[in-house]
Structures are given as structure tokens and as C-alpha cells.
Amino acid sequence: MQDKLKSIGKPSPKHDDLVKVSGRLNYAEDYSMPGMLYAKVLRSKYPAAKILSINTARAEALPGVKAVLTAKDVPYNNTITKFGQSKDVGGGFEALYRVLAEDKVRFTGEAVALVAAETLAQAEEAVKLIEVDYEPLPGVYNVEDAVQPDSYKVGEEDTNIIAHFKSHKGDVEKGFSEADVIVENTYRVPFVDHTYLEPESGTAWIDDQGVLTIRVSTQVIEHFRGVAKVLGLPENRVRVIGTMLGGGFGGKEDITVESFIALLAWKTGRPVKLTYTREESFLAHSKRHRYVMHYKIGAKKDGIITAIKAEILSDSGAYPYLSPWVLMYSTVCAAGPYSIDNVDVDCKSALTNNPFGSANRGFGSPQVNFACESIISELAEKIGITPLEIREKNCIRQGNVLAGGMKMDRYVALPDVGVQAWEAINEQPKLKPADESKKVGRGMAIGMMTYGRMTFLHDTSRSHIRVELDGSVTVRCGVPDLGGGQAASLCQIVAEELGVPLSKVRIYISDTALTPLAGTTTATRQLYMSGNATLKAARVLRERLLTRAAAELNVTAAELDIADEKIFVTAVPDRSLPLKQVILFCSGEGVELFHEAQFNAPFTDVPDLSNVQGQVHPDFTFGAHAAEVAVDTETGEVEVLNIVSCFDVGRVLNPLRCEGQMEGGSIYCMGYALTEEIILEDGITLNSSFTDYVIPTALDAPHVQSITLESKAGLGPYGAKGIGEPACNSIAPAIIDAIYDAVGVRIKDLPATPEKILAALKA
């Protein structure tokens, strides 16, 4: 069956592509309700301050204002963050979720009060009339200060440290004593934003059954449970309908507007809409964590690495959100995809009065990948071997054990991905720029990133398929579609298994009341999880149809196959029945033409946090990036000329989407390497706009060559792995390595701005 797939592997456009490019798709902000009010959020102007009093009287008196809420109006203002996991994982991983600031504010932009009014202008005006009496507090803005015992305390606890994970293997001191070459460096990466096109938006209303209904742009419809908790409602009285997202990248994994509009709708009894402005979005949602990473690595003269030590400090910002989870990924990935005998990894995350960190494409992997790959390239150079050679000598292979103790018993595409990326970038001779001040260089990096959630969360997904009497198929699956084609891939699986054209499969997604819960669209998990749930459901239906046809054709079901809307005898394809005919037989005889299936990922216990060992993730995707850059030696400007992205994706379901992820991922973290950073001055964001927060434009994006390898060794449908997050993992160190190759300076502090490069060149 694997060899004659009809739908899988074909470059078919998504069912929603045309509506998107023609501007007809409705995003969250496009929906309105009759009698709708507009909401606005009052946000803290201080990063750290005591709230002495809040006076809402003038705001309430403003014509058109229907509600003004502060923390005291929220039934359950302090709850625990949950992200749709099936199992309570408790302290350390599940942390405070506070709807509105109380007693003290912890970051600039923290929500302090909510307003709902008849018009947006009235809501904006009312927010300005709320008088908050603050007493500014000193705050702490540098995570290296925040971990000190006598530091300012951001929250209510007597330490700012919210997570501390360690992982070790062998004896690093012995390993370093055996090394001929040792390199030691500190690497820094900044807070960065997701920069999705669509800012946070949603509308809430109470339906005619009294159900609080929220239509919202979210990666996690399971937050309906969190909203129910905030309001003290039964979970079946809150419904979340997810819209198609104009981008998520992890930034819509936490609750965004849901609780705010739910509270206001509940209070006023009217529909309420809230859409953030771009500036507000920058201030209000999470960031990829700032990291300070101290690395030490040693190797023998022949390039074999003897020990690696990593001390990692993550700036969690003002609230924990997903910081401990992100830190766990960093812990597992800190020593990279290498087989090293002596490893010592120590990771901490601490609160500061900066914007809060949470999920961002890569989830703790790109940070440590940048540090680890940078130091490996520097080590190679000190030893006198190429960046590729050192990776070939040390990378893990099938059967090896990762630093964190997980045995890689599935196929590992290392060093192949690295070899192919490096060969592809070196296929053409290096360009010689006409401009004498410009120098060209090439670099590479490899990486591993997980797909699927951490196994101690006991991840599950469900999908429901119904075969219609005319041979079309309806799928229901609570999967939020971020634009990556999460829904379309499920349709392809159904089309494949039931032998119908893609155009005959319709999918309904993202509704907690009407679609089976599929879990979050995060952690590069939907193809793996919901793909498998859908595959499971489709195969049950397929079996029923084949069984019924077998009786008709006088063969066993095992002798049959379905394709092109026909069920036929595999050996004698002419002996066939129209699929529709078989469906009608089933329908007439009471055979169930629908099925809902659940897929469970592997389940493990919470690991020992003082020495994380064994399985924490279901599996990994291995990949590599190579980059070619031109550096202007007089201004420090970098132009990325070419990128090669090479991944073992297991199986390509749709080349268009797969390459889309690989190209997008490359450009996403090209910005991380070169231009992007949240510029903070004592907790104040100085660049909360697209004027000053600099992402690459179409003109800055070079050609990206995507090379996909198909080992079919993944845990997803047809052997697929995940590609969404891994796609951005190793591009930053590849670019930094290319800059070094061009001009001989290694930037250890992202982003590699022209200014830093020029200063390094002059030093």
C-alpha cells in the first residue's frame, strides 16, 4: 500500500488556500455579533509597582460604558495554568495564572482593569479615566541578578527561581582532563516576539442555552476549562470556537483575550469583542525566553569530544507560564545531538520584571542549539577540522544514547542531513562580490528537536469521521489550524485511506462543543497526534467497508483495496464495486458509518528533576542548515545570500506544506540571528512596533533550498515526523558560523547586528 499512495506525498494546495489569498477567509476580528460591546484593557505602565488603589468611578460614569472590572471582580483571579494535558503534572510545571494584576504589578503591560463599552472610542476613553495609584518598586531586570538570594522578589515567593533541572552522565572533570583542546564561552540570546500578522482577538457571548461562548484566535481550545475555572462555571457551560489563525508560533498557546471577554460578557450579558493593537500585542503576549548560557567543551586532537558542560539561565519574565516546560526541552537538548560520554547540564529559570517568556517555535531548543552548535564549530576550528567533520565524528547514530539517557532505537538521519546541507551550499563556487569591502562566508549547524509533547503529560488526541451516503466524507477534529495546514493534512489521510478524492473530504475543526478534543496545536504534535487519531478512525471505517464489499465479491477483506472511489480485488482490479454502492449496503444494513478514535502518545512519569534521564519526548526530528552570507567589513552589515535546509521528515505528506515550513522556519530564525530582539530598558519595551522590531522582509529573505529526506521512521502517520518547530532550529548558528567564515569574528550574543560585527572587527 505504501508504494501506491494516491493523496499522500502529492503537492496539493490546501482547501483554504484560495479563500486566503482572495481575502475571503474570516479571522477572529472579522466576526461580530448584534448588540456587541467593545473591550479595552488598562495595562500597567510600571514594570514593578504596588497597586495602592484603583478608582474606576470616572470611567464607569462615562456614557456608553457597561462594565469596568478589576481583580476584585474576578471570581477566581488566581488559578493554575493548564494546556490541555490529560494528566495533572503538578508543582513545578503547573504555575500561577493570574487574570488581572492584584496588589502588585510585575511587568509593563500587565492587565490591571477591563472595560466594555458601546463603542471602541468610549472604551478607549474609559480606560484613560481609570485612576490607579501606584507605588513604584525597584524590580529586577537582569536574570543574573534575579537568582541572587538578596534580589528583589518578583512574585509572592521568597525566591525568583521557578525551575532547576539537571542532567548528567559520566564524569565531566575527568573528561576535561583527557581533552587536548578546551573551549569555554558565554552565549546570550534576547527575548524575541512571534510577530504573527494577526494580533490577538476574540468575541464572547452567552448563547440561548446560557453557554458562555468564545470565538477566538487560539492554539489551545482546551483553555475553555481554564476560563470555566476563572468564572467558577461548569466546564460544559463554556465553549470555545477557534478561528483560523493568522499565525501563532507559540504566542497563542497561553490564554490571551479569552478570560477578559468571558468576564465582560458574563458581567454585561452582552457580546463583547476585544482585539489588541499591534503595540498592545507586543506588550501583552509571551516572548521567547532570554537565555544566558555558559558552555565548556573539550575534545581530543582527533576531534572526539570528551566532555561538555552547560550552565543555562532562562529569564522567565514576570510569570512562569510555560517556562519550566521550555526549560525541560533545553535540558534535554543542551548537549545537542551528540554522543558524548561526560555531560553535565544545569538549567535554571527565574522570574524578573521583564515581559513573560513562554512558548515560541522551538520551545527552548533554538537557544541551546545556538550555544551548543557555536561552541562545536569553534572547537572544530581550534582542532583544525571542518565544521562538518567534527559533527560526523561526534553526532549520535541509531542505537546511541543521548546525553539525557534516551536510547535512540529509531533511525537517526545524522550525519546525513548535515552532509547533504553542506554539500548543497558548496555546490557553487563562492561568489566574489564586486564590492571590495564585502566578504563571503559559509557555515553550517545541525540540530535535533522533538515533535509531540513531553511524555509525562500523557498526551492524547481524538478524531471523528463520518462517511456520507453519496461517498463524501466529513471529519470532525478539534485541531486549531495555525495556517500550517493542520486540518488539510488530516483530510489527505482520510482521502488516502478511504480512496476518495481530496475534494470530497470536508473537515470541521476547533470547537470544544462539537469536535472531539484533539489537544493543542503546539509542540509540533498535530500531524503526529491527530494524524494518528484520524488514521486510526479512517482504518476502522475502511475495514468495515472492505468487510462488507468482501461478502459481495466473495473474497476476504484482506484481498481488497480502495482507490478512486472503488473497492477492488487487489490481484484482479477489474473485480470491483463502486464505493458508493458499498456505503449504501452498509447504511441499509445498519453498519455504523462513523467512527471516533483516540490516539495516545507514549506515557511516562515525571522525570527526576535533579537528574533528567530516559524518555521525556516521544521522538526527535533531525535536521541541518547551511548558510552563505556576505559581510560588509566597513559597516558590519550582513546579507544572507543562500540557505539550505535539510531534514529527515520521515514522510512528506504534502511537499508544498513541508517546504513551506522549512522555508518559513529558516527565515523565522534568520531574524533571530540577525535583527530581532525586544529592546528593554529596566523592564520597559522600547520597540513595541513593526517599525522598530525588525523582522526580515521579502527582500531580505534569500532563496531557501529545502532538501527532504524520507526515512519513514517517524511515529506519525505513514512514518512522518514533525517539521513545524524543528524547521527553525539550527539556522541561527549556521548564519553565525558563516559570518565567522567570512570575516573571522564569532558573535556570541544574538542578534548579530552590524554594530556588534563592526565592533568585533575593530577589536
Binding site: A121, T675, V694, A698, P754, E755
Partner: protein, 297 residues
């Protein structure tokens, strides 16, 4: 954002009447690409009346009077970039306007708005400064001409009086042995404000060996775009292909007063300013040499 009343005057006379009548309650809008973001960000108070220039089409004319080129204040950056007249006889202006923002913005934004907004980073201004441009200002009470160089008094500050507007900007077409160039350093290739920008104009001796005349200007290195006069003095009379690089760099540094902002530190601006001026001069010299031979001037 507060609402305002948009006034669309039907003629230039009505426009001046409106301007004088509305006084400080009125504000001109052209492309709106500076003004509307400023309203939204509450950097500029929303006035009661916004007077729309876009209906006065005569203010968008780009034309030539003998050796003088006039660019109407309402000419958009896209129109300037595409104008054969500008491309042929004042390419430096097209070059600068082409580096502003994105296609979408260039289709809306006007050169008058770029000048009037008086940002130190206004990209058309260094180009116009090296062209030695004049502004023609008009109001109900008449017209006056002013050198562009004298127009700016600080960031967002100009000598424009109440009720007055920029009607057009004029400069001489470049002639034989003359060339000019604009270079910009931003954080990316498009939709980026200048970290530093530089423009140069040179007039070479007939044998193309000596710089007979030179004008230099920069953006984003002082409270206003400005001429770099000591560097001009240094280059004037020097050899076209062999000027003293070291001295030029030192001189440029003395003429500018860059600040630190979210785009750059002051030190980096100092570092790269001279590099940009040098590149602009070299390009201008090259163009002056090929002037009249089909190359850009």
C-alpha cells in the same frame, strides 16, 4: 483615536482660505503616512479639521523650466522614482525616494510630506540638499522662496508659518561633468528608517581629474538632515579619485552629532557616517564621469 472632519478643498484658493480660516484647528494631510500613525500613537493631537491636499492635482506636477526642475509637493515617491525627467536629470532624488519604505507606502507618501514632517531620517531630504533645492511656500498672503537648508530648525520643527504650505521643491538639473548619489544604511533592505543616510553631489573639472565643486548631506546624524560643510571644504579642489580618506573620515565625524536611539548607538553612527559619505562621493564621481553617456547622473 479621536475623529476629525476631513476637508477636501476644490481649488488652491479654497485651500488657502481653509488654511487661514481654520488656523490651529486645521492640519494638512497629504499621503497621511506620517500623520495618521502619529494620531494613532497620540504623538500628534488630533485637530478638529484635517485639510486634504490630495484633491489639488496641480500640486503633484513634476516639470522642467529651462534648466530648473520643479517637483510638486504632492508628487508621491513612486511618481518621482518613475519620472523619466528625474531619472535622467536628478537621478539622486529617484534613488533616495526608491529607498523609502515599501511600494504601498511610496504609492501614497509625498515628497512634500517627507520634507514638512522634518524627521532627521527623511530620506528625500539629503538628496534634495545636495541638489541645493529651494522650497516654494504659499499661503493666503502670498508666496515665498526659501533654501531647503534653512527650512529645518529641529526634529519636527521648521520655519513654516501658520496657514502656509509647501507648494513645490525646485533645483537645477544636473549638467555635464556633474553627478550625485544617495546611500542609505538601514536595519534591512526595505521598510526601514535610516540608521544613517548620505548624499553627495560633485562637479568635476572638464578632464574629470579634480572635484571642482561638491555638496554633501546626511540624515539621522543630527537633529535635522544637514549639509556636511567642513567635509565639502576638504574635498573641494581635491583629486577625484584620490582624496584623503583618513582626513575625510575625521572631518565628517566633527560635523555631525548623532544620538543613540532604538535603531543604533551614537558610536556606530559616527563609525559608519564617513563610510557612507565616502561611498556616496565615489558613486557621484563615477556618475559625473559617465554623465551624458547614458549613465545615471
Amino acid at each position: 483615536m479621536n475623529s476629525f472632519r476631513l476637508i477636501n478643498p476644490g481649488s488652491i484658493d479654497e485651500l488657502y482660505n481653509q488654511l487661514s480660516e481654520r488656523g490651529s484647528a486645521g492640519r494638512i494631510v497629504a499621503g497621511g503616512t506620517d500623520l495618521l500613525p502619529a494620531f494613532k500613537k497620540e504623538k500628534t493631537a488630533v485637530p478638529e479639521f484635517v485639510i486634504n491636499l490630495k484633491s489639488i492635482s496641480e500640486l503633484a506636477d513634476i516639470n522642467e523650466e529651462e534648466t530648473k526642475i520643479n517637483v510638486g509637493a504632492l508628487a508621491t515617491h513612486a511618481e518621482i522614482v518613475e519620472s523619466f525627467l528625474i531619472q535622467g536629470k536628478a537621478f539622486v532624488l529617484a534613488e533616495a525616494c526608491d529607498k523609502i519604505a515599501s511600494w504601498q507606502i511610496r504609492n501614497l507618501a509625498t515628497v512634500g510630506g517627507n520634507i514638512a514632517n522634518a524627521s532627521p531620517a527623511a530620506d528625500s531630504v539629503p538628496a534634495l540638499l545636495v541638489l541645493d533645492a529651494h522650497l516654494h511656500l504659499g499661503s493666503k498672503n502670498g508666496h515665498r522662496d526659501i533654501k531647503l537648508e534653512k527650512y529645518f530648525t529641529g526634529p519636527g520643527q521648521t520655519v513654516l508659518a501658520d496657514g502656509e504650505l509647501i507648494e513645490k521643491v525646485s533645483f537645477s538639473a544636473l549638467a555635464k561633468d556633474e553627478g550625485a548619489a544617495f546611500v542609505k544604511l538601514g536595519k534591512r533592505k526595505a521598510v526601514t528608517l535610516s540608521i544613517v543616510s548620505a548624499a553627495a553631489y560633485v562637479k568635476l573639472s572638464p578632464d574629470h581629474l579634480v572635484i571642482e565643486d561638491v555638496r554633501l548631506a546626511m540624515g539621522s546624524v543630527a537633529p535635522t538632515p544637514l549639509r556636511i560643510k567642513s567635509a565639502e571644504a576638504l574635498l573641494k579642489g581635491s583629486k577625484a579619485n584620490q582624496f584623503d580618506r583618513q582626513k575625510l573620515h575625521e572631518t565628517v565625524r566633527k560635523d555631525i552629532k548623532p544620538i543613540k536611539d532604538v535603531r543604533s548607538t551614537a558610536e556606530y553612527r559616527l563609525e559608519v557616517s564617513a563610510v557612507l559619505i565616502e561611498r556616496a562621493v565615489k558613486l557621484a564621481v563615477e556618475r559625473a564621469r559617465t554623465a551624458g553617456k547614458g549613465g545615471h547622473q
